[in-house]
């Protein structure tokens, strides 16, 4: 009996979370699209016009993959963390804990929903980017794969943050204190080899570097680190997050008294 997956629970959580997203669709879509447009205007057009091309790609186009990553990562984390934090906060988590559903099913439901929303935002931003710059996508399938994996892995991370957080401040602090620096120092707006030597080495410990690099490669066939390392990093990151979640549900940490 325990071996039989409760797929309906996954579906129920997924539908529920997607409906929540649809109710706030303006908020969900408008704000990332607006802020990315501003980035394009400021960095791409205003400042970018004074910056040289990076390896033959105009600066405006160069930052597109990084900008998409920036939004997608923040959105994945905030969607997934809020998704699980909210029932914890209002107490309706009792239902998940008393349902015949495993940690795998509950996590899958929340993470898939958060990843779907982030993915949609990523695509919308990509489309917006076409309005501002000439884009080329050399490897569209790889592009989609990297986008998908990024959405999934950072939704997993967001899910952990949501379980860990005991108040709204913590919920917002993590993306701010941890994720923002990782993203901004992750080669979002520059190529890692533009950094001074020491920082290049430090950057190699930043998982975002590998994601942005792989993602940018799918656009312009240029990368800071090799494709293999990018893939390895993203799978490693996903694996670690999954293991942490497994441990959380096993021990009931922050969920079960």
């Amino acid at each position: 009996m325990n071996a039989q997956m409760n797929l309906r629970a996954i579906l129920a959580i997924y539908r529920f979370e997607m409906a929540r997203g649809l109710r706030t669709i303006t908020q969900t879509l408008v704000s990332p699209v607006l802020s990315t447009s501003l980035y394009f205007i400021v960095f791409g057009a205003a400042i970018g016009s004074r910056i040289d091309e990076v390896e033959g790609v105009s600066y405006g186009a160069f930052i597109v993959p990084g900008l998409i990553m920036l939004s997608v990562i923040t959105q994945s984390i905030s969607n997934a963390s809020f998704g699980i934090y909210f029932p914890k906060f209002i107490g309706s988590i009792y239902e998940h804990l008393s349902a015949p559903a495993s940690f795998l099913e509950i996590t899958t439901g929340y993470v898939l929903a958060a990843a779907t929303k982030a993915f949609a935002i990523g695509i919308v931003i990509l489309l917006t980017a076409f309005l501002f710059v000439d884009l080329q996508i050399d490897h569209p399938l790889w592009m989609l794969l990297f986008l998908t994996l990024t959405c999934l892995s950072f939704s997993l991370l967001g899910f952990i943050v949501g379980i860990w957080a005991t108040n709204f401040e913590q919920l917002q602090l993590v993306p701010l204190l941890l994720i923002q620096p990782l993203i901004f120092l992750g080669g979002t707006f520059y190529s890692v080899d533009m950094l001074p030597g020491v920082w290049q080495t430090i950057s190699l410990f930043n998982p975002v570097v590998y994601l942005v690099s792989g993602f940018r490669w799918s656009f312009y066939s240029m990368a800071d680190v090799s494709l293999g390392w990018s893939l390895l990093a993203i799978f490693g990151f996903t694996g670690i997050c999954t293991a942490i979640i497994g441990w959380i549900f096993k021990t009931g940490w922050r969920l079960r008294d």
């Binding site: 797929l7 539908r15 209002i90 309706s92 008393s98």
Partner: protein, 310 residues
């Protein structure tokens, strides 16, 4: 009746070391209404949480229809519906969406017709498309019940279903519970209202300080330990109990407008006839009489007090 839930040697210590349950043994019979009666902090919610899988168990085990609720949690949990003590509802969801969600979580196929029926039964059908936050407190509690029933459970736990609910709603709730029982659902409810346990339960368990003090058939319990009260409404108020009636346990109530006679149900002869005759002889005019079952209240108070002294 077969046992549907068996709690064996269940202990629960919270982080920090507080032991909320101390080696609890309890069997719940299929189809019954069992009331767990106990003061605040007795461990009622903890016991329910352990059975339903919300709280981890420190020692002992729980079998639900023979399934261990830890190792075979899917089989065990799918039989149980839980109505929690607190109103923990997503405020922005509609009634229908939130009930449908519960059904899905429990792995049941969508069945809006069934949910509609549940909502109708709980007088919520009109509100099915209303957001939860717009409902009254009583309705919210019924939404919790609808969620618990959404997956057609065989066992329903109601944790203080009428706490903070006004009298008419409380009566309504009792009726709902009775109807559920008729449909074959086993019901366990917790309460610290004695009258509620008396009104609804087939069996009553008394819990205090993390221990089950006793579990009895309600009737047996009352018979075993019960006393009754006869309230005699007087035509003219008295200032004191008439002389010469010392053999009766009498007191005055309602500013002397009522004479209260407490007697033992088990003793031979209640003494009522003799008392009334004696009153008539003393010229006391009786307007009305009625009896009251205050038994469980006494038992309850006795137990809690006895424990306090121990």
């Amino acid at each position: 009746m077969a046992d549907i839930v068996r709690v064996e040697g269940l202990s629960k210590s919270y982080k920090g070391g507080f032991q909320a349950l101390k080696h609890v043994d309890l069997t719940i019979r299929e189809g019954e209404i069992l009331a767990l009666l106990g003061p605040n902090g007795a461990g009622k919610t903890t016991l329910i949480s352990c059975i339903c899988g919300i709280t981890s168990i420190s020692a002992g085990r729980v079998l639900v229809a023979g399934h261990d609720n830890v190792t075979e949690y899917r089989a065990a949990r799918s039989l149980i519906g839980l109505v929690p003590q607190e109103i923990n509802l997503e405020p922005f969801e509609t009634v229908m969406a939130t009930v449908r969600y519960s059904r899905g979580l429990f792995g049941k196929k969508d069945n809006d017709a069934y949910i509609d029926e549940v909502l109708r039964q709980l007088s919520l059908y009109d509100k099915r498309d209303t957001q939860v936050r717009a409902l009254s407190g009583g309705m919210k509690r019924r939404v919790l019940i609808a969620k618990a029933l959404s997956h057609e459970p065989q066992i329903l736990f109601l944790d203080e279903p009428t706490a903070g609910v006004d009298v008419s709603l409380r009566k309504e709730m009792w009726q709902t519970v009775a109807e559920l029982q008729k449909r074959g659902v086993t019901i366990i409810l917790t309460t610290h209202y004695i009258e509620e346990a008396e009104a609804m339960a087939d069996r009553i368990g008394i819990i205090s300080d993390g221990q089950i003090r006793l579990v009895r058939e309600k009737q047996a319990l009352m018979h075993e330990l019960g006393r009754k009260v006869l309230r005699i409404e007087l035509a003219q108020p008295l200032t004191e109990v008439p002389a010469g009636l010392d053999t009766y346990e009498l007191s005055l109530a309602k500013d002397g407008a009522e004479l209260v006679y407490t007697y033992d149900v088990q003793s031979d002869g209640t003494g009522i006839t003799r008392l009334l005759t004696a009153l008539a002889e003393r010229g006391v005019k009786v307007r009305d009489i009625r009896t009251e079952q205050s038994s469980l209240e006494d038992i309850f108070v006795d137990l809690v007090e006895a424990e306090g002294q121990a």
